[in-house]
């Protein structure tokens, strides 16, 4: 059976499949994520408008180099993710698994960088509720609260993404994801790119605000 002739809802040897429905469901989940992070971006925008000078000053304390490196890491992981999907559709299973492994590795590199970045902040007494932070002006407290909250929630998404990809890796190995049935991998890709898009906005808001 050719790929182009695949109906919307189909039975494949007793297995029920719905390519369009599966993808639509994932997009609707993506919308909920946009609204979730959107709310946090609104909170950031309002507090920044109220405490422009303090946000500017606190942003200067973030490690811009690490922020930019992590941006390139995530952008590259997004590339390897789409290449993994293209590879499986071209029936190159091994290549698809290698690209997926690269994506997982880059996701892990992102988290390791984040760990060192947060560790340095904690070392300087900067963590939510710390005495050092509570002694600083309200705007700076809000900036670091939003920074830990938003990059923390984003980091949680990266962690979940890597876990989901490891499951996809098993599916690929066992031929549960094939050139004619790749929606699981495609939906994992949609999630991963969303995580990338959110970081694209976090970079200028936190690291470049100074």
């Amino acid at each position: 059976m050719s790929v182009s002739a695949q109906p919307l809802v189909a039975e494949h040897g007793g297995e029920h499949r719905d390519y369009g429905g599966a993808k639509l469901g994932m997009w609707i989940f993506v919308f909920t994520e946009l609204i979730l992070f959107g709310g946090l971006f609104v909170a950031y925008g309002m507090y920044r408008a109220m405490h422009a000078h303090e946000f500017h000053k606190a942003s200067g304390e973030l490690n811009l180099t690490l922020g930019v490196i992590n941006t390139v890491v995530l952008l590259t992981s997004s590339l390897s993710m789409v290449l993994s999907i293209v590879a499986i559709r071209l029936q190159r299973k091994r290549q698809s698994m290698i690209f997926l492994a690269c994506t997982m590795l880059l996701g892990a590199v992102f988290l390791v960088n984040k760990f060192f970045e947060w560790k340095a902040k904690f070392h300087h007494g900067l963590y939510p509720g710390s005495e050092h932070l509570m002694a600083r002006p309200p705007g700076e407290r809000l900036f670091f609260g939003l920074y830990f909250g938003m990059t923390g929630l984003h980091g949680l998404h990266v962690t979940i993404g890597v876990v989901v990809m490891s499951v996809m890796m098993v599916f690929l190995a066992r031929d549960r994801i094939r050139h004619d049935d790749f929606i699981k991998l495609e939906n994992t890709g949609l999630y991963w790119h969303l995580v990338d898009v959110i970081w694209i906005f976090l970079l200028p808001l936190f690291y470049l605000a100074a």
């Binding site: 790929v3 182009s4 695949q6 109906p7 919307l8 390519y19 369009g20 993808k23 639509l24 997009w27 919308f31 946009l34 609204i35 959107g38 709310g39 971006f41 609104v42 925008g45 309002m46 408008a49 811009l64 930019v68 941006t71 390139v72 952008l75 590259t76 997004s78 590339l79 993710m81 789409v82 290449l83 293209v86 559709r89 071209l90 790749f182 495609e186 890709g189 949609l190 790119h193 969303l194 990338d196 898009v197 694209i200 906005f201 970079l203 200028p204 808001l205 470049l208 100074a210």
Partner: protein, 100 residues
């Protein structure tokens, strides 16, 4: 744009490796430009980066990496509606702050 069952049922055509690599290069170049603008320490240029370059990067990811360019018109309208709702939220909140 056709809305028939057959059209929606087809997985979008396979995009070449080269297309995605070009998009990735564009994203990295735009990131460099964004950082460069912010390092000029001129608030107007940095704001331009935030309001123009960042949404451009997000659009590239949506249209190419998330395959939106190759999806049905119905899905494109849904994405536009979701982003529209987000923009209304942001707009209303800021207008409340500005004209309080």
């Amino acid at each position: 744009m056709s809305f028939t069952m057959q059209h929606r049922a087809e997985p979008p055509h396979i995009v070449s490796y080269a297309t995605f690599i070009k998009v990735w290069i564009a994203l990295v170049v735009l990131t460099g430009l964004l950082v460069g603008l912010s390092l000029t320490h001129r608030p107007n240029l940095a704001l331009l980066g935030l309001l123009v370059i960042t949404p451009t990067k997000a659009s590239l990811v949506f249209f190419y990496f998330m395959h939106l360019k190759y999806e049905s018109a119905a899905l494109k309208y849904m994405v536009a509606a979701a982003i529209g709702v987000l923009i209304i939220f942001i707009g209303l909140t800021f207008s409340d702050y500005l004209f309080r």
